[in-house]
Symmetry: none
Subunit: 200 residues, 4 copies
């Protein structure tokens, strides 16, 4: 019998183990037996801390949502847009990478479950997009950004960053081609601000 620790501690251990297993296999293919093994507890113990296997998923999803996914888009002290953008993107990228396993689980399940889909859109996508859009509009008013549709423009930026996260964190693409984060950030910012058009 495993050494008694606080219930909250044990709960956290199980939840993290579930997260690791779900991230490896997906929710349906993960068995409570494997989660128990990964957590180093008996199968029954899981159910002392969580009502159902579903509850593990929901709790994991909730733990993504405690993260400050809303970036701090603010123009402090008249810094150039480029610097602000770089700070935010670097920060977002780090945050995504840290939470990649959980985000992957959330995203993967959101593809097929209405309830999670709604939460994902509301609490991940829209939350992040709305703050960015507000910033974008302000900057447009100020003339530092062109008057393109802010909702679309913000999503374009999210897509540019997102694809690299999906590639390396969700699809394990590093095995094929590994990108350097700083180079990626530089390029994204450069393209996003100035485009790829040459003088040709």
């Amino acid at each position: 019998m495993k050494r008694s620790v606080s219930a909250a501690e044990r709960r956290r251990e199980i939840l993290q183990a579930a997260g690791r297993v779900f991230a490896r296999k997906g929710f349906e293919r993960s068995t409570t037996a494997e989660i128990a093994r990964e957590a180093g507890v008996a199968e029954g113990t899981i159910f002392r801390h969580f009502e159902t296997k579903q509850a593990l998923l929901i709790d994991l999803v909730a733990s993504v949502l405690t993260e400050p996914l809303t970036a701090v888009w603010k123009r402090s002290e008249n810094r150039p847009v480029e610097e602000i953008l770089r700070d935010v993107l670097r920060n977002r990228l780090a945050l995504f990478r840290e939470n990649a396993p959980l985000l992957k689980i959330f995203f993967a399940e959101a593809l097929f479950r209405e309830d999670l889909r709604d939460r994902f859109i509301d609490e991940v996508v829209l939350r992040a997009a709305t703050a960015a859009e507000a910033f974008f509009r302000e900057e447009q008013a100020r003339g530092s950004l062109r008057p393109v549709n802010p909702q679309i423009a913000v999503r374009c930026l999210m897509g540019m960053l997102g694809i690299f996260v999906v590639w390396s964190e969700f699809l394990g693409g590093d095995k094929y081609l590994r990108f350097d984060d700083e180079a990626v950030l530089d390029t994204i910012i450069s393209i996003y601000l100035d485009g790829v058009r040459g003088r040709g």
Copy 2:
């Protein structure tokens, strides 16, 4: 008993039914009973046409791969880069939308299955990226595109387009916010070529 049709016809019916169910529920949560119901055949009938439930998935994946996912990037008759880009993107977007249910299934399974992950990367991502990269390099040589890293730049463009497909086709985001395809294309092209920077 359902009227006998050609084996190929029945096979196609079952495969399409499976595609619909998988797209709705994901592979694991779909039962062969439901696929049979959707196809209007007895459960056993599925197995006269497909060895296993897995085989349905693999066949569906294969049917994605018969699509010409590699875009035709070519500079015919000195058309401006903007027009070429618009043609390709419009064409890609249409293709993705048509094949969205299958792509979603493929992508969702690729998140957790090594074999499908490899195929997805090889046969969807890299196939599409490689052609675009070649075009990008040529245009750079010609001076019509700036000398940014082509692999990153191409992925940025894929991310910009991809996020809208994921939003509307994978996550059902239209319910929340519907984007007009042409507006999206215009904005993407405008940003990608010239950036969002104003004169502020």
Copy 3:
């Protein structure tokens, strides 16, 4: 569609195919699909000629029973017991070998099915034993055989011969050790009549 032949002919073909498959795999593990393939007909055709798969088994069993399993034990013209025995055994051995596949099926199923067990005992074992016992008693009366229990003595002889049939025909033992029929017959007769005791 297979060339039309007489129904009786087609029936015979199917029955023989079933016999071959049953002998290879046993009744339960044989599928009507494989029998059809072996017979070169469509699966449905089997059921035009036989009500059920069981009927194939029953018919095969019946075909064993049309064989003259009862040996002709008769003392013609005062031939020595040794010669009679040799004739009968050689004849039995040949008969068993010819009908080995069917006997194997019959025997194997008799191990687990009451109905076939009864028929096997009645129509194979007892039929063969009874004739032999009668002969044995006659010879005992005549003094050419010792007064041992005829039922047991006859079964001893059956066991001696039977074990070699089981070895080579039922268990494929020839792969390990192949016995020459005439040597076996010589030895059986020699032992059965005179025993193995030396003068040591």
Copy 4:
């Protein structure tokens, strides 16, 4: 829910139940549902103790093979061959009867499965025959047994004993004709050593 006992205990219960069902119906016709019923456990419980239904069979077969099927053929203190033979046969007969249900299962499956056939021949037939042959040769050298082919002679003896085991244990023949074991042994020994030939 059935009271929890040690895993080994429950395993044994299930294995024995499986043995009873297999002996009654044969392997293929036995269902895991019936085995569970016979063992008084839920069907799923079987699979906590055995990987597959096949594993039950293999384990049962293995349990036959732990038995000392090789008889101890030894000439202790110049006892007459007759006594040695009687000891061995009586002992073998008892052993076969005790293990008859398992032997029947093993034998029945060996008729149709190459893997079991090989094990049956190697580990039951040859193991028993080889020891007997060695003894036979020694006695021949000593002059107490005649110079007949020992491999054939030993199988003759096995057949004589075997047919009575098959009759009563495999085919339920006692219902028709019941033999007294001692009478059978006496007769077998008498015939095997001295033959049935009278002075007629």
